[in-house]
Symmetry: C2
Subunit: 348 residues, 2 copies
């Protein structure tokens, strides 16, 4: 089969590799229908994260079950499935606590799982899925192709935006600031609206992203950054927001989000921390803030969000402003890297 | 009247100053019955926090209302009152949100309030209380003197320990680690038990504090610190605690608390951050932790905790292992500074 392999900065190649095969009775093989490139794939593509040796890449996919091990019960051959960006057994203490991304056996597609196995990458034709029952969510019927884009967001960006909103305690009537206008930030706007936020301020300087944010439910857009951005937020909603959703992971965006909060406000942060930013304990302490964040355990959110996707209540698939073929994967990375696309979907 | 004035490191003096008088119709004058020395008073006493000019000190007191301004309705002359460590108007947006310590007009005893007035210190015979209705909590009847110690803890340490437990989401069945065996840490043990924690691990190396922690509800005591401390905690409760209560404010104690948590765990931190420790975003992110902390808005907790004190359900006054007269205030600071006393109560 063909699988995307990263060799180093700027160097992703679609290569022919061995077809994956069932290795354990709890495995399934999934034929990938749609995959995509994630903002976090760019850390390796840009060299921010080192690539010590070539490895498969990509962690978001939807597809059809091709084969199952003898112990798989939750999904069957031919089922259309959503695969969250992390593999999880569904039974360990961390999965039981809802933190699927800290599964004691699972891991991330393209890397080693905690049980020590190399996992396949999602930017490929097939993926072997260990712990299929704990990982895959099957759809009751085959979806229409025009829902693929939104279904694909449930593997990562929509679940991650939702996690930011959950960690930030967004509830009916909340005032919310969303920092970050990438796919996750835009999905966080959807999530905030879905959870009943009354006021949603999207921080964005890019016109197309601003209009998508408004379409998704942002009531206001603030283009300024830094102190001017905070001042504008406070002009709009007085003493600061109830909730801030940090969807970037940089020091400046974190400061922006924290400074936008009112005393007693909540920060949800889901941007993968880049350059190990630290949270200022003194600033948090003086305002009695609550902070929560992490690698979104999206497996736990798929069922809830899927209902809204299938009824058309939310349409997060609009974050894909570009669609390419799998063999254009190199071009897809370049489009994401240069921000000429918000997010590129790949047809397999 | 006599009031304690700090002049610089190691230099607190009981001095004769003008009696306070009603200055606004919302003021009350309270005759102090009991006050005490707080761990946070030691920041100034030790010079960690500079004393630019001599000022009154002390922020914990209970007493009797001596006089009220014309607009005070909640308390009357002769009422026995509990004064939280912060002055608050009870009506601004932050008070309405329950963050009384961020009141837009109030402030801390001994310092300037946000309205610009110098507030008196609590280690004194009388205190003028601006915004008396928003600040003081009156008791329905005169309490017995043997409850004074516990009532006095409601002004700060018991409310602060409770805040740590609330911010850490302690709930029935929780496993809890309490870092810090000062008066706040010991009160946090009481708070965790009161909120239904099933397992409470007190981190303490001091025998008398260990036994008080056990008396207050600690099921286990861990004397080790650092990696050994974390390993011992995990020996006791597997993958880590549901909740960690940080009651010190140092970098090491914060690391200890964070490392003791399971993925998805909650940290409540109430130790005044010393030396501006920072919270590691990467470590929080990788474990999906939730962090909350700050200057405890104890005004909002007094009524709830008072019920348990008056029925004898909790007895936090035991943290006072020493009682002195107000004119021994210098000796009280020395006892706290050398840790020869957990907390010293002052009879006025």
């Amino acid at each position: 089969m063909r699988s995307t392999i990263i060799h180093g900065p700027g160097d992703v190649r679609l290569e022919t590799v061995a077809d994956p095969a069932i290795a354990a009775p709890t495995d399934a093989i999934v034929r990938v229908i749609r995959t995509c490139v994630c903002g976090s794939d760019l850390w390796a593509y840009r060299g921010t994260e080192p690539t010590d040796q070539p490895h498969p890449i990509g962690h978001e996919f939807i597809g059809v079950v091709e084969e199952t091990g003898t112990e798989v019960q939750g999904v069957g051959v031919g089922d259309f499935v959503i695969a969250p960006f992390a593999n999880s057994d569904g039974t360990c203490a961390n999965c039981t606590n809802g933190i699927y991304t800290s599964c004691t056996r699972g891991g991330f597609w393209g890397g080693l799982n905690r049980a020590g196995e190399q996992l396949g990458g999602a930017q490929a034709e097939f993926v072997r899925v260990p712990y299929a029952d704990g990982t895959l969510v099957g759809l009751p019927e085959q979806p229409e192709p025009d829902t693929y884009a939104s279904l694909l967001t449930l593997t990562d960006v929509m679940g991650t935006g939702h996690h930011a909103a959950v960690m930030a305690n967004v509830s009916p009537g909340s005032t919310v600031v969303v920092v970050g206008d990438g796919a996750v930030g835009l999905c966080a706007v959807i999530a905030a609206k879905r959870l009943g936020a009354e006021r949603i301020i999207a921080m964005s300087r890019h016109e197309t992203r601003q209009s998508l944010a408004r379409e998704f439910g942002a009531t206001d857009v603030v283009a300024e950054r830094g102190k001017e951005g905070v001042a504008h937020v406070k002009d709009l909603i007085g003493g600061g927001a109830d909730c801030a959703l940090e969807c970037v992971g940089m020091k400046d965006s974190m400061s922006q989000a924290l400074a936008s909060l009112r005393p007693g406000g909540h920060l949800g942060f889901v941007g993968v921390p880049a350059g190990a930013p630290e949270l200022p304990a003194g600033a948090i302490f003086s305002k009695n803030l609550r902070i929560g964040g992490g690698v979104a355990p999206v497996r736990g959110y798929i069922t809830e969000l899927l209902t809204d996707v299938t009824t058309g209540g939310i349409n997060p698939g609009k974050v894909f402003d570009s669609t390419m073929k799998l063999d254009e994967v190199g071009e897809a990375y370049r489009a994401m890297d240069t921000r000429s696309a918000i997010k590129v979907m790949l047809q397999v």
